[in-house]
Symmetry: C2
Subunit: 596 residues, 2 copies
Amino acid sequence: MPSYKAPLEDVGFLLDDVFQFDRYNNLPGFADASPDVREAILGEAAKLAEQVLQPLNRSGDMEGCVRHEDGSVTTPKGFKEAFKQVTEGGWLGLSTPTEYGGQGLPVTLSQTVNEFQCSANMAFSMYGGLTMGATAALLVHGKPEQKSVFLPKMVSGEWTGTMNLTEPHCGTDLGLLRTKAAKQGDGSYKISGTKIFISAGEHDLADNIIHLVLARIEGAPAGIKGVSLFVVPKVLVNKDGSLGERNGVSCGSIEHKMGIHANSTCVMNYDNATGWLIGEENKGMQGMFVMMNEARLGVAVQGLAQSEVAYQNAVAYAKDRLQGRSLTGPKAPDKPADPIIVHPDVRRTLLTIRAFNEAARAMVVWTALKSDVAHRSEDAKERQAADDHMGLMTPVLKGVLTDGGFANAVSAQQMFGGHGYIAEWGMEQFVRDARIAMIYEGANGIQALDLVGRKLPRDGGRAAMTFFAEVDAFAKEHGADEAMKPFIAPLSNALGHLQQGTMWLMNNAMMKPDNAGAGATDYMQLFGLTAFAYMWAKMAKVAQDKIAASGATPYLTTKLVTGRFFMERMLPETTVHLARIQTGAATMMELPAEAF
Amino acid sequence: MPSYKAPLEDVGFLLDDVFQFDRYNNLPGFADASPDVREAILGEAAKLAEQVLQPLNRSGDMEGCVRHEDGSVTTPKGFKEAFKQVTEGGWLGLSTPTEYGGQGLPVTLSQTVNEFQCSANMAFSMYGGLTMGATAALLVHGKPEQKSVFLPKMVSGEWTGTMNLTEPHCGTDLGLLRTKAAKQGDGSYKISGTKIFISAGEHDLADNIIHLVLARIEGAPAGIKGVSLFVVPKVLVNKDGSLGERNGVSCGSIEHKMGIHANSTCVMNYDNATGWLIGEENKGMQGMFVMMNEARLGVAVQGLAQSEVAYQNAVAYAKDRLQGRSLTGPKAPDKPADPIIVHPDVRRTLLTIRAFNEAARAMVVWTALKSDVAHRSEDAKERQAADDHMGLMTPVLKGVLTDGGFANAVSAQQMFGGHGYIAEWGMEQFVRDARIAMIYEGANGIQALDLVGRKLPRDGGRAAMTFFAEVDAFAKEHGADEAMKPFIAPLSNALGHLQQGTMWLMNNAMMKPDNAGAGATDYMQLFGLTAFAYMWAKMAKVAQDKIAASGATPYLTTKLVTGRFFMERMLPETTVHLARIQTGAATMMELPAEAF
């Protein structure tokens, strides 16, 4: 049976030492999260994940969700009780405003808690995760009365939320959507249509489910400019806040899918369901984008989380499994064979995952802090810079962390040989669960296009230039430091590749946009590798300083070795990504569609 | 629902044009496979795969195998009838000697048929595939009476075969195995022990199952030098060839696993089962190696096969799915959106898979021809050269084709967006099925070690030197040909990287074997890429000659574009593999096991 321990030491290093959380104490919520409060919160979050959620992961996968004839859906055994513990612990409202019953703490903390919960039980964590995404959209675009009716119950977790975008014929291209909204005399709308792939669309964990639904108002323009966002509760809410009649929305079926079996993925039928407009008519995508950015960072964390739990279990197996002997002679001569962790190829695999995880976690903390600054700072310039960072890094994080998270789950599974393929060991579930993160909230190819087509050129490339300058300044500052050489030289080299790739796109994709499409995925990976290298260089510097100040610890020594491994073995891939970008689109566009 | 068409045109190009099958007409069996016979056989094989096996793939996955209380196992609906069609068509004996009822045709043909069957239904094809592997081991190492009792029935498919290596505590390291064999007065042995992960260990497709079992004879040395191979039929065979009593072997349980649900993966309990020694005492690995080499090539083909069928379905979807518009303006203005095949990132994905598949298929045909030469030529030198090739290329094929086959199935699934994650579309099954090929018959890390540790240094590096010289000669021969420049320059560059990697291992791994282990996987991938590049250069030359002789066809034009795509976009990875090899083992061996 797989197990999980929350990476508290690594999180502490990032929050306390690398990103110096306490520097942000001028922002609302940060001062409340003093070091001892952080330790207490994260310690409790770890316990919840390890002791309550993780034990339900395998059983939830095997049991799955069941839809009954009346359209109701039962979640796996234990989920109801666990969800109650999550909501009663206030975990869903950790970083939502106190005004609606939240604790107002930084998103940096709630994303860390999110990592723990996703590692422990990804399918379970989605019920709360989607609720937080819907909450975020209502907070920004909801009307005051919508906020007061829905938010307190969603923050407490008494009610959950969903996002309804996809229809059978449209996912990426939401301009094609057909779900209709007809305006009623009382200002409400009647919503009719079919939505698919609705995660947590129906379940038995909450008294009500608040659906955010994209639909087209009768007479609205065709395409994306005629799409509006609506709030459609499963059960209508009376004026006094009590629950009234069932609304005209129901779960038509649940999908049989590759993984996240314990999350109900629903076909939702809207049949003259009553809904209320969020934001303005025909500007539905604005509200959806708030939700999607929130969700994309959350999905990135899912990639990291599956990679982390897969790594932990692969390490345990590699230390335990006796098979063969070290190429340099027996290392456990008293045993019938050596543990497989003596083999370089096993260590190569494990360090590749570990180096990814620690850089990815740093990226998440860094970006979550920017999110907090973007939402909480009183300084408009600071807010803008943080927002720039968020816009630029969100597609990188979503694409790179979920691609890598899946690949790492596969590598970790490989450590187990045949046992990795057997359900009982739990490794194949990590692979199946991790797979969805590459697809939903915008498939990774779309993230790459978002990066090169929108985020990179936006405001004359301001966000990217700021990032390049920051990395360059760091490299210059520490370039003369002998101990930092193994980190700085490769970082500068990677930055050079990223800048060359950027320049190539600027010179070649304006006139021929297919060149941007052809290089998009490689550019996203190149960007991610460079950002990871920056994270590693920062972490190495802090680790070296700590060692100089108060001596080496196993954690700090391992950090430095893992960082060198990243620089030596993983970062060289930037060369290939650059070469591919510079190849352009010509060859791939040469063939007619029939030739494929 | 997924579909499948056997790639007959591509196979014809390889057999007829690239490898000039008819040049081998001096070898037994080849002259019988004249062009029209080949066409008829492959046409029938295609029909069987497309019309009989493929329709059972999804249903077989959903239904799986069921073990009953008495230890019997039922395969999914339709499998019995389909297996009857396969056996009655003589497909299992296509390339086994006529002496035992086979057709004596080249392995080159039976591996092609294997590809079709694996694409159509991988789980189904394993029942026959394992039978052919067991047949191969008996052919080489069986005693005459064993051959006459078992082979005719196995060639006909009335009886099937298995290989029993793995035990709960040992897979890679078979020296640890504990299954015991006690010699009896009549020359037979009593076999007792537990074997796990036994594919096709028990089922309802045949009257008898012939298990080949590794066990340790009482008093034999410890380790791999005390391991012997036995034949243990499920039902004992009377002197007259009729079936007698049940033997002491039974299926204890079947595994719940990630994929290949329709193949029964059994825990087999041997309880004083009667078996007979194959080959000599304590030399069981020799017989097993015959079976494993056969099986490894077969597993490599599974990787290719899943990649091919996943590609075909992704192409169909990419042409059909309307979503968004081309970056260069609408391509289907009469439709609500363009088919997604207009997007460079979609084409990049599809061409990556296609370029892999066509090179991989060429590698398989090339190596299968060598297998035929190794077994059928009367010229000892020719046999040795062919055997060298087989030894060198088998781990490369197994590792590279299954790693790539899985990665491609994942990429093809990604084309479908959310639909790819839903079982109904069949794409996630290709991913789950393809995953096992990276693990069984020696996990790919073991293939890489086999390559660098055994196959590369064997006979002073003769096999590798021969391959390098062949590629180099080809590059020199066509280096001045202007039309071949896009192929020859990258090929020479890749060969240079492979030679540098080889040299580095020679200079650095003799004294420090961990350097070989640290670079093994990258070396295997580097080798595979270079061999692929050679295949592409050969195919390009033949395609260009054919175009010059009789004009362009869509097939030949596409071949050349796909080849250029490979050279431009995929081959540059050799740089990174070389860089990693040259990094050595130091960093990854630095940490104590506890640090992971």
